[in-house]
């Protein structure tokens, strides 16, 4: 009995971890490539989840299908926000702190816009497959977390391939490793930064929908997501896509196991405590840092 519970918690943890990885990849990229710590990242993810919710409720469009709208929308919105707001601090002496404060403001704005538009109630993405599951031996697999899982794996893979294979992706990596040299080779740093920020936020939207497939969400959910993002990104190494994925899975498993063994209200304490310990012991991350 308890081994089955253990395996079930592990599976739940892995699914959650994968979604956190998708949510965290963009956060890691903007931090690593542009030294911009986007506190509003999880709030953008939440916005994606709420847009998907409206699509589902009003038009009956499946959350995965509505990605086709959410992702481009968030991409364009993020590019605009980058040009209007964020780019003014990227040349400041303390980019990270300035960007943190500026995006803190952005997160507050987003949260309250969501509150005004959708209200404070917790929401669920209830599709036709929600609550349905298939059973393999003693284990059961629910459909919507699985869809979230595959979406997350696919999303992280796409970003990884984009960075390794395409010209723009290579330019992003070059800009991260040697900004000045990259510019000498004709890479338009401002354009690359805008695209990176847009992509990061768009992937956050996908990650947010993934989260919404797993759990209920409300306008303040992004705060807790954000703490997990910090955890995932700092463990995985800032700017490291595969590290972020590995860290997501690790954190997911740890959270899954603590959910199995601890009362629910202590689980967050484990997460926060873990983050504090890792920050103190190894702030550069457990995996080697590279894009």
């Amino acid at each position: 009995m308890s081994t089955i519970l253990l395996i079930q918690s592990l599976i739940g943890g892995i699914i959650m971890g994968a979604v956190y990885a998708l949510l965290g990849v963009g956060f890691s990229l903007t931090w690593g490539v542009m030294r911009v710590i986007n506190i509003a990242h999880a709030a953008f993810g939440l916005l994606g989840a709420f847009i998907a919710y409206t699509f589902l409720k009003q038009l009956g469009i499946d959350p995965v299908v509505s990605l086709a709208f959410t992702v481009p929308f968030l991409f364009v919105a993020a590019c605009l926000i980058y040009r209007l707001v964020i780019s003014s601090v990227t040349r400041a002496k303390e980019v990270m702190i300035s960007s943190m404060i500026i995006t803190f403001g952005l997160a507050i704005i987003l949260e309250n816009v969501v509150l005004l538009v959708w209200g404070a109630d917790p929401r669920l993405l209830t599709t036709w497959y929600t609550g349905k599951a298939f059973v393999v031996g003693p284990l059961y697999f629910q459909y919507s977390p699985l869809i979230g899982f595959f979406m997350a794996v696919f999303g992280v893979a796409v970003i990884h391939v984009f960075l390794k294979m395409t010209y723009t992706g290579k330019a992003v990596r070059a800009a991260w490793q040697q900004p000045d040299a990259a510019q000498l080779y004709g890479i338009n740093l401002k354009r690359i930064s805008t695209i990176t920020f847009g992509l990061a936020v768009a992937s956050a939207g996908a990650g947010g929908i993934g989260m919404a497939l797993l759990y209920s969400f409300e306008p303040t959910s992004h705060n807790l997501w954000l703490v997990n993002l910090f955890l995932v990104v700092i463990v995985g190494g800032v700017g490291n896509v595969l590290g972020t994925a590995a860290a997501g899975l690790t954190i997911g498993v740890i959270t899954g196991l603590s959910l199995a063994f601890l009362p629910y209200q202590w689980v967050n304490l484990v997460t926060f405590g873990l983050l504090m310990i890792i920050l103190l012991i190894r702030p550069q991350g457990l995996f080697q840092s590279e894009v």
Binding site: I37, L116, F230, I234, L279, L280
Partner: protein
């Protein structure tokens, strides 16, 4: 107050003294209780923002978790009162040991955490505030999620509010005075050197770890006392109230809005934003008010990264008060 006159400029010190004196008389002139409470809140935020500024402004270590010390002070006072069955007067006095408790916690937490810099320090302090909040909620000894009740004063509300007003006024005056003293001292110069470049400061024989921990403990001490007073003011405390992360954010915003480099910045910032806050919460929906607040963060960082004082100073093409 005698200390105050030893500050560099005696003119402003006299002015400050006059302002403080007239403020102290105010609640006894029989104004509506609303105004007494309003000024009480302003004093509290000036105290909090000025304390935050000792580590966040002078040393450049941005703490997003300062509400933890406020809450620890509130809980320490409430527990002292409940355990020792203190009378009204001694409850108020017990906010001073509560400040010491907060400072002690700050030393324990600061010792490892102050090695982290920039965003890492900001994240870990935020985490710390969440951890304390969750721990208090889950520990039945300190009231858990039910909160704690404190005995109220057996006085009419005008009188009790006026007493709290005077106490908070005193605390604010002391905090601002200490903050100003630090700003003009070798200690403050050392902290500024750390903000500019910690490595260079250390090679110039600035004992950075020691200065940082002292500044951090001091910046926790006054919020601890403020928390103790506020607990008694509220007569009921709950983790959601005294560990509210929005207070942390508000403190940071106030100090940065006024300008973290000088002692006057947080005073101006806290007074201005408390006023804005009050107006917004009276006339605008809460969500909209917070949207305006969020926009303020962005505007402050983009247009006046050194605070409103320096911004105004630059506008007037004069030497800013913050540059000393």
């Amino acid at each position: 107050m005698i200390e105050g006159s030893r500050l560099k400029a005696s003119g402003p010190a006299t002015l400050a003294l006059v302002v403080l004196m007239s403020a102290a008389v105010f609640p006894w002139l029989g104004p509506p209780v609303y105004f007494i409470s309003f000024f009480y809140t302003i004093f509290m935020y000036i105290c909090l923002a000025s304390s935050w500024n000792m580590i966040g402004g002078y040393a450049g270590y941005i703490s997003f978790g300062h509400v933890a010390f406020f809450g620890i002070g509130a809980y320490a006072t409430a527990l002292l009162m409940n355990v020792f069955h203190l009378s009204a007067v001694s409850t108020v006095l017990s906010s001073i040991p509560a400040g010491a408790v907060a400072a002690f916690v700050a030393v324990l937490v600061g010792y490892p955490c102050l090695r982290l810099r920039g965003p890492y320090f900001a994240v870990i302090t935020l985490c710390f505030a969440f951890v304390v909040d969750l721990a208090v909620k889950n520990l039945p000894i300190v009231g858990g999620a039910d909160g704690l009740w404190l005995k109220a004063m057996d006085l009419p509300i005008e009188i009790s509010r006026a007493i709290m007003f005077e106490l908070m006024l005193c605390l604010m005056a002391v905090t601002v005075l200490v903050s100003a003293k630090i700003s003009y001292s070798r200690f403050g110069a050392g902290l500024r050197a750390i903000r500019e470049d910690e490595e260079v400061a250390q090679t110039m024989a600035v004992n950075a770890p020691w200065l940082k921990i002292r500044a951090f403990a001091l910046s926790a001490f006054f919020p601890g006392i403020a928390g103790g007073l506020h607990a008694y003011y509220l007569t009921y405390i709950h983790p959601d109230i005294v560990f509210d992360v929005n207070i942390s954010i508000l403190i940071v915003l106030m100090a940065l809005f006024g300008g973290g480099g000088s002692w006057l910045g947080p005073v101006i910032g806290a007074a201005a934003l408390s006023l804005v806050n009050e107006l917004l919460s009276t006339f605008v929906k809460a969500e909209l008010a917070r949207i305006i607040y969020g926009s303020l963060f962005i505007i402050v960082i983009i247009f006046m990264p050194n605070g409103v004082i320096e911004f105004v100073g630059k506008m007037r093409k004069a030497h800013s008060a913050a540059a000393s």
